[in-house]
Amino acid sequence: MVRTEQDIKLEKKVSQTILASQQTPAVGEAGHTGEWRTKRPILHTEKCLVVKTGKLTCNLCWLYCPENTVSRSIPPKFNYDYCKGCGICATECPAHAIEMISEKEAPSCEGNEGGN
């Protein structure tokens, strides 16, 4: 169906009404929660079991992250925009490959513009 200008106007109006009455899923609903962090996790790849074996077998950091900011990949990557720095990954890592370092010593968080 070819949309006319009138159709588009109506669709926009409808979508705006829906948006006003219901919530849409969004990443970072509470803003950049990475700003809450005082310590940041750093991965020592030479100790990491996933890097060592080259297989997605351990991934306990991904399993236990409440915030879903660790990826299941080789090597595991942290999403520093939203990582709240709880340190569960560092405690649970069986190879002690994750270290929590002070945010002061770490390079500043990118895209650090504040919440919504």
């Binding site: 915030e67 879903n68 299941r72």
Partner: protein, 306 residues
């Protein structure tokens, strides 16, 4: 049999950047429960910590529809949603999840849950138990264990034992009852998968121990460790009851033997809410755990499993 990490699905139902506290045990449980149930889920949620996860204004981190209701109506709302799905003929592929805290289950929501269980409404009721009203500022609830200090039991701690909600639900004769902890995400995943298979067989009740760093008083990085200690000391056995038959889950099986259980002091000393406990209080805890396991062993013996 516990599922392998590599076999778990990739799709996330909770997007990063939520309002929940750093190191929240509830969020971990929520993440895995929704991963197990998949995108075709409707949540009803009373006032609880999980409501904070719902977001403010036009945006939410949840990818599935959620309905936020009053404390006492969570089971009634879920029953209504389930009835609507049945009328539309969608009850086979869409599942309703009532996700309540311990206040919404043990204290305020118990009448709705009991009524729905008796009527046999078709939904999963998950109680995520962090053992006090954490969201409103750590007040005592029916689930708070013996001796725990809260803002309403400030000096001596709670002087009563907690309610045994699992037994109350067992008395309702539900088709599926399970108990799990935030330290075992794979166990949570499997139990929610199983609860979904019991579609059409009334209310399925799952209770999850969710840790709370500010409420229990431990550093955020100990969140999973504390829940695991609760399992390893035998305080929180992981089990399920399928059609009346009691089954101890794999991670908890070895704690049937008392010598394999860790000392409960390890669990209690790690949290500031139990800081003031004396030796006689710890005796009460030990007796509670022993009595719990004696009961389990007796029942397994009756069933002929050991």
């Amino acid at each position: 049999m516990v599922i392998k990490v590599s076999e778990l699905p990739e799709e996330e139902m909770i997007l990063p950047g939520t309002r929940l506290c750093s190191g929240c045990g509830i969020q971990l449980a929520y993440r895995w429960a929704l991963k197990a149930l998949g995108p075709k889920t409707i949540i009803t949620n009373p006032a609880s910590c999980s409501t904070v996860c719902g977001g403010v204004g036009g945006y939410t981190p949840l990818k599935v529809p959620a309905f936020y209701c009053c404390f006492e109506t969570v089971a009634a709302n879920a029953a209504g949603a389930a009835a609507a799905l049945k009328a539309k003929g969608q009850d086979k592929d869409v599942v309703v999840l009532a996700w309540a805290g311990d206040g919404g289950t043990y204290d305020i929501g118990i009448q709705g849950l009991s009524g729905a269980s008796e009527r046999g409404d078709n939904f999963i009721f998950a109680c995520v138990n962090n053992q006090a009203y954490m969201n409103t500022g750590i007040q005592r609830s029916g689930a708070t264990p013996y001796g725990a200090t809260t803002t309403t039991t400030p000096i001596l701690g709670k002087q009563q034992l907690n309610k045994n909600m699992r037994k109350i639900m067992e008395a309702h004769g539900l088709s599926y009852i399970a108990q799990t902890a935030a330290s075992h995400p794979r166990d949570i995943y499997e139990k929610f998968k199983k609860a979904r298979e019991f579609n059409g067989k009334g209310v399925r009740y799952i209770e999850i121990l969710g840790t709370c760093p500010p409420g229990w008083g431990f550093p955020t990085d100990q969140s999973v460790h504390m829940a695991r200690l609760a399992v390893e000391t035998g305080y929180w056995p992981l089990l399920e009851r399928i059609e009346g038959k009691l089954i101890i889950s794999q991670p908890s099986k070895r704690y049937l033997d008392k010598s394999k259980r860790k000392d409960i002091r390890e669990f209690l000393k790690g949290q500031s809410r139990f800081r003031h406990l004396k030796e006689e209080d710890i005796k009460i805890w030990e007796n509670y755990i022993d009595a719990q396991w004696d009961e389990i062993r007796e029942e397994l013996h009756k069933q002929g499993d050991i």
